[in-house]
């Protein structure tokens, strides 16, 4: 695939905006890490060595305790196994840096959760009100939120680009019809209707996405319509038509590549708003069902338990960091694609 000089220039401009560039690198790192979150934050061991054999329990079916000579048939508790092995010397266990998963209630006999942060117990940011590790909840919650945002983005943009492009290109009755549809549809009080729908349906990942797409496709459609409209009036389209290009070819080969900048500049902001919306719904209790790890759930636990400030502090800081990063990226992308320089006096 050849890269056009323009794309190269945009990329270089993007790289030259340090804040956005480093935010993008960090974000890519976080995404990669969250894909392999099971290797970093998990209650399953990375490697177990027992009787001369190596086990890699992270992925795949669970290994019952009997595998390692423990007296139970349910899944091995690797943290206990580690202490058992340390005493008996029958093998060794390598645990991930944070040896808890997001659903596990780490309860103690001496105290009630939430437990404060402690390096000794490996709850680096403490636990929530039911004894689940905050780091684990944050990491897996991030993965779900970003996945949700990306799926939402894809659906919204596919619909938006298709319908918007058709509106701009065909114009006429089709355009007028969808204009009215969008006009009506965008006058819906967005959050409230989503809350109503979510409170009524049993919200799963996909139904929630569906509802959000149902009310979120208009904005991209509108932007695409405007920019297709502008591109269609340009000379190169007329030239292509004069050369005998079909409508499909004009749209796919000529107009779409020229509207890419519109699409790209909106992506980071759409991701940020996807994360924000899901967290808000979760916070209000209309989002994904518990015990799904989610930032909104942590937020509501945190605000309800301000005397355990580590919950609120962790999740608010996490949100600030992620959203700032995404917005930095968005700002840099926008500037890279829109080199307009303001002139000024004095």
């Amino acid at each position: 695939m050849s890269v056009s000089p323009l794309t190269l220039k945009q990329w270089q401009r993007f790289k030259s905006i340090k804040r956005g560039y480093y935010a993008a690198l960090a974000m890519a790192g976080l995404l990669a890490m969250s894909c392999g979150a099971e290797l970093l934050v998990n209650n399953r061991a990375l490697i177990v060595s027992y009787e001369g054999r190596l086990f890699f329990p992270t992925y795949g079916a669970f290994l019952p305790g009997t595998t390692f000579g423990l007296g139970y048939d349910y899944e091995t508790n690797y943290r206990e196994l580690r202490t058992v092995f340390a005493e008996s010397g029958a093998g060794w266990v390598l645990m991930p840096p944070i040896p808890f998963n997001a659903f596990e209630n780490d309860l103690r006999e001496s105290a009630y959760p939430p437990y404060p942060p402690s390096v000794a117990t490996r709850h680096f940011l403490g636990t929530d009100t039911t004894g689940r590790d905050v780091v684990a909840r944050l990491v897996y919650g991030f993965r779900i939120a970003i996945g949700f945002s990306l799926v939402l983005l894809l659906c919204n943009y596919v619909i938006g680009v298709a319908v918007g492009c058709a509106m701009g290109f065909w114009g006429g009755a089709f355009d007028l019809f969808f204009q009215r549809v969008i006009e009506v549809w965008s006058n819906v009080p967005f959050l409230y209707v989503i809350m109503i729908v979510a409170s009524i349906m049993v919200p799963t990942f996909w139904t929630l996405t569906l509802v959000m797409v149902l009310f979120g496709w208009m904005s991209m459609t509108w932007y695409m319509r405007t920019s297709t409209y502008k591109e269609k009036a340009r000379d190169y389209v007329m030239a292509a038509r004069a050369l005998g290009a079909s409508s499909t070819r004009i749209v796919a080969r000529h107009i779409l590549p020229n509207t890419v900048s519109v699409i790209v500049t909106f992506i980071p902001f759409s991701i940020a708003s996807g994360i924000t919306a899901l967290t808000a719904l979760d916070y209000l209790g209309f989002g994904l069902l518990p015990p799904t790890p989610s930032w909104g759930d942590l937020l509501s636990q945190g605000t309800a338990n301000l005397d355990s400030p580590w919950i609120v502090t962790s999740v608010v800081s996490a949100m600030i960091v992620i959203l700032l990063m995404v917005t930095y990226i968005g700002e840099a992308v926008r500037e890279a694609f829109d080199p307009k320089r303001f002139t000024y006096y004095e």
Binding site: V188, S199, A272, L306, D307, V312, T313, I320
Partner: protein, 361 residues
Amino acid sequence: MATFRFEAIDRRDGDVTSYFIRRLLLIIPTFLGVSLLVFTLTRLVPGGPIERMLNEAAMAPQPGAQVVNTGGKGGSVLSKEQLAQLEAYYGFDKPIFVSYVGWLSRVVRLDLGTSTRYSEPVWDIIQSRFPISIFYGVVTLILTYGVCIPLGVVKAIRHRTLFDSVSSALVFIGYAIPGYVVGIGLLTAFAWKLDWFPLGGFVSDDFDDLSPNERIRDIVNHAVLPVLSYVAGSFAVTTLLMKNSLMDNLAADYVRTAIAKGMTFRRAVFKHAFRNSLVPIATSFGGNISLILTGSFLIEKIFDIDGFGLLGFESLVERDYPVVMGILVISSLLFMIGNILSDLCVAIVDPRVKFGSGEAG
């Protein structure tokens, strides 16, 4: 997700008056569509008011209450006749469309029905929440415009100075982080940790015993944090909008002409560029009307402010559908009127904007 608005200029047919008349008329189908959609949804689901009452009765039977076991599912506490009566009372015995028409005809006569939770007229409940929401809305509005417009002007004139970058950074953080997260952060830091402000509510419990001066202090004390979280997000958008549009105008030919003809820079800014720069600000003005009245579910919930937003949230949780529908009616009407007002503001501020002219960007 940010509410999506039309670009007011992007209109094709008719002159301004007929355009606005058409917009006003469009409220009707929109309203019908939205209300029918939500009404149907509220009917299709389990967990309506009757089930809620049954559950409550089953959970905590009142002393002396006769428990009638109908032999139905799970031993209902009501007889079949009572159930039928209840269903008739709530209008659940009729098909959806019939009861929707019934509901609609009452709404047209300004009767929003009776709350199933409070057994009071919905309108009275909603009305009682308005003063609080309006208070926060107006304060936020004044602060936003009072700070953002001057700040935007200064930032545009002092573009790329230290002041510009520092204020940009601050404003930017406010933009990236949604208001409710700001609210939670402020609450934790200043109300819980430092104990400078109360944890929530609109006034203190002993409000009635306070002297007038103390009352004002009390309200202000309670209002600081919520207002900050309301304002945090809108600051960035309005300030940057002001700055960018002023800078666009400063670079325009007519300002250059004015300066070339010997006008001072200050006069050129305030006499010429400033007014034109207000156009984009005006597009967002109408949106404030729904913000003023409806507030934000999230911020009101965080600070436990008994306003319109919290009412909407609570009625959803309690499945108090008459109130849910009532709030939907009012907020969607306000939202639509706000959008139209925005366009009207644009037409007033900028007489060049023709809603009949062709496709502009």
